[in-house]
Symmetry: C2
Subunit: 457 residues, 2 copies
């Protein structure tokens, strides 16, 4: 019994789709941020639900950890094999199974990326809106309850996963939810799976909610004197009922990094980037309303774009922000924070964070999905410098504590993984024990992504 | 140990807020539909979370069942004390705790009704949109994952409960979710609680998502030649991205009942009733688009209303439907079905249901929230007539089987209670076992609303 025995039993089944090669193990032992390399014992590429079920059955019998892998773009070390075991790479389960245009839904395998999915949907007039930035797989996005720039309008993965097919820890296959738009038939297992980070089941199929491609899209960027004024404009806009498609904040440090990296010349001020989706009439009405709210809060330098290429130019600032910030300090790695607070406390949270960062030896530009109250500080550190790492961790911990004291959460969209485990008891109290009870009930042998989400024994 | 001992220990704590009077027990042993009267052993009216926690602690020690009670308007016998025990009536925990206009949220106690809540919100420009028809409590609505006429636009209770305070089965109090708009911090316990019908915890506080009162509202009713044409108009309207606030279907039998009860003279045809919420411009644009889609599908007899009193007149048909149908057969009781199917299968499901009803000895007008694919047949039976009861049950079972075969659910919004237990294994497969695992993990003594939702031992 054990990992070696599991691998021996799986080899004849997966043949060249099971790898023990160092290069594969290394590639699946890395994350996009600051965690140490943690190679698994093997990598498997299944092609069907039956194969996943067989794999899980064997690993459960052999007590071998199983870690799902999508595109490897998660930021909290979710897919690292911290107790060894087998990484299950879903790259060969990446098909669109069925598009249901009338139902505005699509059934897909977990390994398809959001960009590939939208490419397949292009001709249907529908699209899948959740956009976390990275070209993640929809399976991975479901498991971290991802969201991103469009959540203010279209919701998060919680809102856009209608149903799942999953393989339970004992290898049984079941469906959660239905193809209907709603149900009251017992506990919401789909909702329980979304955000469970592969600790309760492996997802082998998703039914996703689609949305109509908007007839018109308009985008704008504008600058504010202060961060408070920008946030006030956000609060008033959301409160006015304007269905913003995106409403993003970047601070002066982010603007500076993007200007340097891409030759832009945005003024060194807080900016909002916004986007409107709808009919021609609605979009133009909403854009006018936003402009008037923003100007009442001192916004200047409005730059509008309705044509696709102009919008792409405007949004380049936001989309390039993370890489521009990384590039601003060659050799640096990032600790990316992810707090989310009530809108009413957002200005306070961002201001206090900026003051903390200014008082520290760390550079940390801030940007965020402010319509949701979610913002990130990109804390740049020299990975070899223990003092900087400690200072960044201190900053991140202070942000997390502040978010909790303001009624918010330590992670708006990145998930728990390894990076947020230490905050879970404080965020959830007895609720974290409940999560542990659920985990033990559903995965008594603790084979599904052990070391993540719940209290570790 | 047992129910009597629990009551003895609770009496000194609750005094005159614990009742053993026959009238109180009878009043809390009834449901709005066809279930037999099932009085509990006692009724308690707590006034605080601390009292609920003390009550649950004692009942857990004494193995005494606890059943939450809101307004008693559920339709599947959710609140019946089928194993005896204590009904917890939340009528004295019905306060608005805090309105957060900037965050568009409100913290309330569970016993407040949705109408009382909206009365308190009137001056804020915000409202709570979920409307299941009955003036239910928000606690009860959360526990059944209620929805109703506005879900097509504003979502169900799943979408509108942001956070909870709950008392767990061992008496511990915990919070689920936060005051922020989103979170990725572990399992979605809020979502797990919503729809759990009081079997996992008792809710003592809810944070609800609010929405802006629309600047303009417009409503219309129109008639179609066939049900297929009406459904086709719904599918096309939803597909076009028009954010309908309500889109309701009534069949000719429902129209006839309302005409008789209220002196209306709507033609004996399938009708759609719709409502639009938004800015003046948006509402008028959307209404025009709907009219053109409806007319392309043969709609006639458009009656529009933008003024509040005219809208109320139009919507009287829908709001009076259930009682008009009941009144059409004096002395009858109703078995109300609640299937929900993918929109693409809705016409097929309704047609087959109408044919089934026509072939039976039962009268069963049909109406529904067709934007969600959810419809109800109101099966009228003489409660003393065993043949009619059997025939109605057969019809209901056929509808449930058909919904499952079409990819839908046996209950779109009413919940499982006692009435849908027999369908759960077929709807969920191994997922129902998972629900049982969760129930046993969170309530090992099975004191929280035993006999509901999960497999019964």
């Amino acid at each position: 019994m054990g990992i070696e025995d599991a691998i021996s039993r799986l080899k004849p089944m997966f043949r060249d789709r099971l790898s023990l090669r160092a290069a594969d193990l290394t590639a699946h032992g890395q994350s996009e941020t600051h965690f140490a390399e943690t190679p698994p014992d093997a990598v498997v590429w299944p092609v069907s639900t039956d194969e996943v079920a067989a794999l899980v059955t064997i690993c459960n019998e052999e007590l071998c950890p199983i870690i799902g892998w999508g595109a490897g773009t998660s930021l909290e070390g979710h897919a690292l094999a911290v107790r060894g075991g087998i990484v299950v790479n879903f790259a060969q389960m990446a098909q669109v199974i069925e598009i249901n245009a009338e139902d505005m839904s699509v059934r897909v395998q977990p390994g398809i990326t959001r960009e590939a999915l939208n490419e397949e949907l292009r001709a249907t007039g529908l699209f899948f809106p959740v956009d976390p930035g990275a070209n993640a797989t929809v399976g991975g996005m479901a498991m971290t309850r991802a969201s991103g720039t469009t959540a203010v309008r279209y919701g998060t993965m919680r809102d856009n996963v209608r149903a799942l097919e999953v393989v339970l820890a004992d290898g049984r296959v079941t469906r959660t939810g239905t193809q209907a738009r709603k149900s009251s038939a017992g506990y919401d297992l789909t909702g329980l799976m979304v955000g469970s980070e592969g600790t309760l089941a492996l997802v082998t199929e998703l039914t996703l909610q689609l949305h109509g491609q908007p007839a018109a899209v308009s985008a704008a960027v504008c600058a504010f004197e202060t961060m408070d004024a920008a946030v006030q404009a956000v609060v008033e806009t959301i409160g006015s009922g304007v269905p913003m498609a995106r409403i993003e904040f970047v601070d002066p440090a982010t603007v500076a990094a993007v200007n340097t990296a891409s030759g832009f010349s945005f003024p060194s001020q807080p900016h909002l980037l916004v986007e409107f989706h709808g009919s021609e009439t609605a979009v133009s009405e909403e854009a006018e309303l936003f402009k008037s709210i923003a100007e009442d809060n001192g916004a200047t330098g409005f730059d509008w774009a309705t044509k696709s290429e102009d919008r792409n130019r405007l949004w380049a600032m936001r989309h390039k922000a993370y890489w521009s910030i990384l590039a601003s300090r060659p050799g640096a790695t990032a600790i990316v924070t992810d707090v989310c607070v009530p809108l009413s406390r957002l200005a306070e949270a961002v201001s206090a964070t900026q003051a903390d960062i200014a008082d520290s030896p760390i550079t940390g530009p801030i940007l965020g999905h402010v319509g949701d109250g979610n913002f990130h500080a990109i804390l740049l550190i020299d990975p070899a410098n223990a003092d900087e790492r400690r200072a960044a961790k201190d900053l991140a911990n202070r942000m997390a504590d502040r978010a909790l004291s303001l009624g918010g959460t330590v992670t708006g969209e990145h998930g728990v993984g390894m990076g947020k485990l230490d905050h879970m008891a404080r965020e959830h109290g007895a609720g974290w024990d409940v999560m542990g009870q659920i985990k033990r009930a559903m995965d008594p042998n603790n084979i599904l992504n052990p070391g993540k989400v719940v209290r570790q024994n």
